[in-house]
Subunit: 231 residues, 2 copies
DNA sequence: AGCAAACTCAAAGTTGCCTCAAAGTTATCT
DNA sequence: AGATAACTTTGAGGCAACTTTGAGTTTGCT
């Protein structure tokens, strides 16, 4: 879904992989990594990523030096990762042109949210709205508009809708949907999924019992019908 | 965004670029540079900048000479940069018509702050007001107007509101808000944040227990809804 | 120093999302 | 048509997150 290119820079292999997987799990398809300042700067020139995640503490060229060098030629947004001891240095990072910073250790959710906030701010997209038969869903704000009324989606409902929207017009299996909501070990979650489907229908359908947009494909799964694209 | 035109005058390329990037990162879109007194004076005539940053120590025409010459024709505000040794000269600068001075080396934040203070003083802006569902917040004065009543915000409440306002319409994570208020080591501050949220709601909401403007996004953070931009 | 306002934090109270099960309904197959 | 499997619908319980209150501490002002 999210096709922005992200460059993660850190000397620790562990952290590099962790951050990379956080983004990949979130649907980012282009995640580059670099383990030194030199490599990072080179990659920046060649690949032109949309955003950089930069660890401050690195041997050789540290995060600040990299940032300073980078700023001579590029304005791409940077989020810095700093450890506890480096507290006051971080101000330097901010003033030198970092867009945000995060203290280690951090929650994956926190990192994702901040990166997405920066991306939205720097590359303002047109509204990501999905038009359905009876309602309109705003993917930015996770809200539904129906009859002028504004209804907000819960976390699970939103995940569910996103998964369906990614495959709009096509059938999505029950297992696939369960996985999108509750992760890998979803066996036995089917009945709960049904409840979420119900709740989502109550928000996006004119008549939840006679669904038009989110239809059941018996024995297989569900399909979301959106307006403007039909098959 | 700040669209005031700023002219930076210095003979050192490094400093020139640094100052320029400080302003550009802060949202200034028109930053000119000049590396000699002659060039600076010429630019002043042609471009009519709104403000000048002037280094005292320069070969040829020094800062004082430039300022003296400038004042024959212009009243634009000037902030002078002086090195430590030139401390007493500062009085000369002041008397010659400088609006402020700053000792090198300085923190970018400090420079920005002073420049913005001067700009506000010299070019008083229209009111920066935020309209909410039940109240109006004045960002200059840090006060809230509701039902004709005037309520002032405390420091933390104001910081909190500013952070939310910067991201108006978007979700701001709890961590981000804590960070904005109490700095870096915010883990464990969440419950205090909740209290500030409560107090802020008591000031800006009609019914703090049924918030309309400052809404909770369960599990993630909060969002500020402002009037005039909504869908 | 003394006071008031602001801040912090913990503890109790509340909300609402998620889950799951049980009963009802619909589609499909023979 | 009847049987069966799949899906729908409802409701109740649990739990984590959020709210609210109050009391203690700090801060800033006179």
């Amino acid at each position: 879904m999210n096709d922005r290119m992200i460059l993660v820079v850190d000397d620790e292999y562990e952290l590099l992989e962790m951050v990379k997987s956080i983004f990949e799990r979130a649907g980012f398809t282009q995640v580059l990594t670099a383990s030194s300042g030199e490599a990072a700067l080179k990659m920046c020139k060649e690949q032109m990523p949309d955003m950089m995640i930069l660890d401050v503490m690195m041997p050789g060229m540290d995060g600040f030096a990299i940032l300073k060098e980078l700023r001579k030629t590029s304005k791409i947004p940077v989020l810095m990762l700093t450890a506890r001891g480096e507290a006051e240095d971080k101000f330097m990072g901010f003033e030198n042109g970092a867009d945000d910073y995060l203290l280690k250790p951090f929650l994956p959710k926190e990192l994702l949210f901040r990166v997405q906030a920066i991306l939205k701010r720097v590359y303002p997209e047109k509204e990501r709205k999905v038009f359905l038969d009876a309602a309109t869903v705003d993917l930015e704000k996770a809200i539904v508009q129906r009859n002028g009324e504004i209804i907000s989606l819960t976390a699970k409902e939103f995940q569910l809708f996103e998964k369906l929207y990614e495959n709009a017009g096509r059938i999505v299996t029950t297992g696939s949907l369960c996985q999108a909501i509750c992760g890998d070990f979803w066996q036995g979650y089917e009945s709960t999924l049904a409840t979420h489907i119900r709740h989502l229908r109550e928000k996006i359908e004119e008549n939840p019992s006679k669904p038009v947009a989110l239809v059941t494909i018996k024995g297989i799964g569900y399909r979301l019908n959106i307006k403007g694209a039909q098959t």
